[in-house]
Assembly symmetry: C2
Homo-oligomer: 419 residues x 2
């Protein structure tokens, strides 16, 4: 008999009607004879409400106690879903992390799943009971509650699927899969039926916030087949499936274009070449808790290099102060910055073998008179920074020029069309 | 060093200002060098909110899941109090029932404390940490959450005090002790400094709802000194202390008058005497979940007895139906009932040795032209039923006539005054 782990996010369990909707979906799967383990988040808004409540008592709440407070959100939604199922005659039991031995290690607000004891869940499954597991929470070595950080319930679901050897882990959310571009921005964006873990990782890192990086990494490591689909979609939608299996993924294709806005760019010009230059310059910025994204260092010319990188716009003043402190000491000629830039990225396994796609990207932007400031390439993605105001126009043009409107997964090489 | 267990009810932790107030009280005791373990209820209204939420999903929520939902209320208030204390530099840790091995047995909505593992709490106390324990919850043999029923947090506090050998268990509530009569009704009522467990048990059973019966019984059994006092009172108030020690309690005294309204009375007349009559008649009523209170059976006359008892007014129609079903079979002559009666009770160890106090009670009521319908006496209390509309007048008259206005604990015998 097939075993699926289903995960429902906060909007899916946001009110009694929606919890009823989730119960119906579970009922349908049970009638089809599928064994289920369900993971739930707190009801939409509940975690934020609890954080605000904690902050009325302390501006920097004690991390242990904040975690102890936050886990009540998932406990409540798990119990509510379980009692809704019980009322419909479906045997269900809610479980906290300690009841299923879900051990986690690390900071109380960003712990990682360490171990799960599947005994009780397996015995429930054998008895036809649907276990409803609280997402986002774990127990540390001292026996205290910790939380798994943003997207933590997805991680709970993937970890359970791995521990139980589930046939599939289904993440129900408010979108029905992963698209070639953000469908709220690009109406012509198309949904992928299949993606590889590594493509999803790049997309997740680039602002396609369907799944958090950690849960995709975990799925890839444990080879858990992962599917993203909509709670509110029709019965027909199959969402997007992630797998590491080469048979499922076309190595010769692109999977999407993403746009990330709200960034700033800093470039340090003419720094005498020296070992570990990036570490000397970027270490203190990272240590100050500033998220550095794209980093570009050119080849040395006359013994000097330029080093550019992006940070969130809100971090620009602090970053500039830190950079200027060090610029003299390392002999930099100048520091320049742009406050408002956007980052456009093209992702796909096909990029590895088809460098002409990068040329297509650049010529499309040139035809739109959009200036590219920095460019960086990785195994399966290429990113460029452009002025923020050109972001949306660039996304539309690149999405069209690279043929994504025709089919979700674009095979390459293809004939060049138009400009 | 002294060790106290403090328990704060829902109104004491009802909002951030009140939680701050509780934190200040804890801070004061810690500064005086007292070791503390704290038990909290859910914030006022939270348990009712959660029950209502459960009922939007199921009119008869699954008991296991309802318990799992309700325990989140205490978890939230415990974490909030702990992080408030941490923010003030007082080391505090919140604990759920499973973290301190608080095992309970029985129905998920009315379990009884079975065992506590004091190891972690003791180690906290040695390190100067204030443990904040979630009241009302326990873990059953299967490792599931159960709740301890109404007043369950008081039971948690008493059980902890017993397990830790605490010097005192202090129950903070919204009244500052136990009075000779309800002080909201009788302005001249006076507070007791000391009461025996058995007196408190009778008072609790008679509508003086300061403490639930179960926690007083537990305190008596484990000889835990118990004190009731107000969270909102001044620093000077010492509340009322309960103890089993004879030195503290005057055997020759009365401790209070209580009035319980909203009751109905049923009398079955002329039943041929037979073994276990009460069980035959009252068993089915009890089995139907109806709370039977005062039971009076007179001595047989001509081989026939009358059996009277009281039930809550809302249960009268169901009770009458059950009684009439059986009245014929047991040969009863008639069934009569009064819908609206009140029960007035006089409580005190002094009643045992001073039957003249009962005469004083009856003559006071007669002087007020209040008719007594049934009367029952126990070791340390006497109860009469009277018409509901005379209840308040009877309470005032008896409280005054028995001398309670002069001092909280009334020594007897005394001179008869007035009427």
């Amino acid at each position: 008999m097939a075993l699926w782990v289903l995960k429902f996010g906060g909007t899916s369990v946001g009110d009694p009607a929606r919890i009823g909707n989730v119960a119906s979906l579970i009922e349908r799967h049970r009638r089809s004879g599928i064994d289920l383990v369900v993971v739930v988040s707190a009801m939409a808004g509940e975690t934020d409400r609890l954080i605000a409540l904690a902050q009325t008592h302390s501006s920097t709440p004690d991390p242990r106690e904040l975690a102890a407070l936050l886990v009540t959100g998932e406990q409540a939604s798990a119990a509510l879903l379980a009692l809704t199922l019980c009322a419909r005659g479906i045997r269900a039991c809610s479980y906290t992390a300690w009841q299923i031995g879900l051990e986690a290690r690390g900071a109380p607000d960003e712990a990682r799943v360490h171990a799960i004891d599947p005994t009780r869940l397996q015995s429930d499954l054998e008895s036809g009971i649907v276990p409803i597991v609280c997402g986002f929470q774990g127990i540390d070595a001292a026996g205290d509650y910790v939380t798994l950080g943003r997207g933590g319930s997805d991680t709970t679901a993937v970890a359970l699927a791995a521990a139980l050897g589930a046939d599939e882990c289904q993440i129900y959310t408010d979108v029905d899969g992963v698209y070639t571009a953000d469908p709220r921005v690009i109406g012509a964006a198309r949904r992928h039926d299949n993606l590889s873990y590594s493509e999803m990782l790049e997309l997740a890192g680039l602002g396609a916030k369907v799944l958090e990086r950690r849960s995709v990494e975990l799925a890839g490591r444990h080879k858990v087949p992962l599917r993203v689909l909509s709670t509110f979609g029709g019965k027909g939608s199959r969402g997007t499936r992630f797998t590491g299996s080469p048979a499922m993924v076309n190595e010769d294709s692109l999977c999407g274009v993403t746009l990330s806005q709200g960034e700033s760019e800093i470039t340090i010009l003419g720094v005498p070449e020296q070992p570990a230059l990036a570490a000397i310059l970027l270490g203190p910025i990272s240590a100050a808790g500033i998220e550095i994204d794209l980093i570009v260092q050119n080849h040395a010319r006359d013994g000097r290099v330029d080093l550019g990188f992006t940070v969130p716009q809100r971090s620009l003043p602090d970053t500039l102060a830190l950079v200027r402190e060090r610029a003299g000491a390392i002999g930099a000629e100048a520091v320049i910055s742009s406050e408002r830039i956007a980052k456009l990225s093209l992702v796909g396994l096909g990029l590895k073998s088809h460098p002409e796609l990068i040329a297509r990207l650049l010529s499309t932007l040139a035809a739109e008179s959009i200036s590219v400031r920095m460019m960086a390439t990785a195994e399966i993605k290429v990113s460029v920074t452009i002025p923020e105001e050109d972001g949306h126009r660039a996304l539309v043009a690149v999405h069209r020029a690279l043929g994504f409107e025709e089919e979700a997964r674009k095979p390459v090489p293809r004939k060049k069309r138009g400009s």
